[in-house]
Subunit: 282 residues, 2 copies
Amino acid sequence: MRVLAFLDGTLSDPDAPWIRVDDLGLMRGDGIFETVLVADGKPRELRPHLDRLARSASMLDLPEPDDEAWQRVTRQVIDNWTGDREFALKLVYTRGIESAPDAGPTAFAMGLTIDEKILRARRDGVAVVTLDRGIDPGLAERAPWLLLGAKSLSYGVNMAAGREAARRGAGDVIFTATDGSVLEGPTSNVIIARGHTLYTPPATIGILPGTTQAAVFRGAERLGWSTRIEPLSAADLRDNDGLFLASSVRKLTRVHTLDGEQLPDSSAVHAELAKAYEDVYS
Amino acid sequence: MRVLAFLDGTLSDPDAPWIRVDDLGLMRGDGIFETVLVADGKPRELRPHLDRLARSASMLDLPEPDDEAWQRVTRQVIDNWTGDREFALKLVYTRGIESAPDAGPTAFAMGLTIDEKILRARRDGVAVVTLDRGIDPGLAERAPWLLLGAKSLSYGVNMAAGREAARRGAGDVIFTATDGSVLEGPTSNVIIARGHTLYTPPATIGILPGTTQAAVFRGAERLGWSTRIEPLSAADLRDNDGLFLASSVRKLTRVHTLDGEQLPDSSAVHAELAKAYEDVYS
């Protein structure tokens, strides 16, 4: 199921064509997006998602997003959703039409059924391969024009990484930097549990600050866990009591296999943290 | 002026919406393109462009492009063009609609008036800044999932580099690798003249093989010049008799200023090579 609404409040047929061929979002991947999880009619982490949308817009020199309009259109899609109790809400914001710059950005929200593959990984965990992302951890600060850490529509490489994982018999990817440090998944953040402490790498190394990662950390802190945002090495991916990918639609997904090697069972840790995450919203 | 035709031969209004919001070209920058220069009704370097489209498709695991259909639609746009004697012809090929994978790729050709800024740079030359691209020259071979050297629709970084150049008072960019070696422009190849020899870096370092660069080399060879495809260092950008950017719409554009420093006048060398390039088509 899909529900589409443009930012001006126009509810539209998602099966009809709405975008001109010279929209810069299409022609140049020049735009940004967010994916929000909606559960039981409530958008999760909407404030952090809208903050990150504004941050991405600033990094791409796009006009500042109209926060209230995005809140309204989010509500509108939710109110028109009649599918599963959980769904993915995409917010898309492009630089607009190349031949009509005065028309301003193209902006819409779309509700989507969550992919079966994602739901299966939530339940059963996922096999992951590490792939070299070819960047060093200092690059994001040194070269802001590379848009590292912006949630850009130019996700071709993220999609290619997923295909490479499939070729290697895995379902997802963890990118590593040239110095071996852990970055992120193509559409997720990496979380490691060790004892009663959670770890995730800092956004300053050129990754997206995770909305779901932050929610999982909040949930764990309520249980008395410690949380640390600090650089992780490739060795940390093995030396832990649980390795997870966090994203809006994945929630907290357990990694059961890394580069073909089965990891120790982290189901119990996963169950505890998954409950802690859900309890944030109850 | 714009002329739009889809790959199936449907001539279409370029001001109408044709693309669904869940086209993966829009949602993920997941697709490829080419820009062909058409002059006096003839597409320049169409064979190399279509070969490169097929190469990009292979790198992205897209279905092999229908070569004859692309040739037909190219002819169709040209036959319907009534604007300037030179125009840009874009070929765009996306992974298609996410919710309807069986529908296959989205594919169209569009004729476009060449931007005034590009025409001015052709005549007067351009100021360029060097920007760190953050990759090392071995990365493309080591990590094919990064799609280095594919002409992908995920051009967000290339567009951001152009904005960074504008902030620094320049009109274009030359990307350098982490070891200081010369890569390419965001939408062009780098050519250096030294005596009667032309130099350009090899595509194996993760850049696009240039169709116009190759044509300039052919033209220069006819005049008895030597040509070399070999790695260039940042120092080579200054130690030469002419520094140029080559692309379909730019043709051979002279760089007159590099990182704020005016370069020695290379107008005479430029004029000779620009003529050599045009003579390829006469």
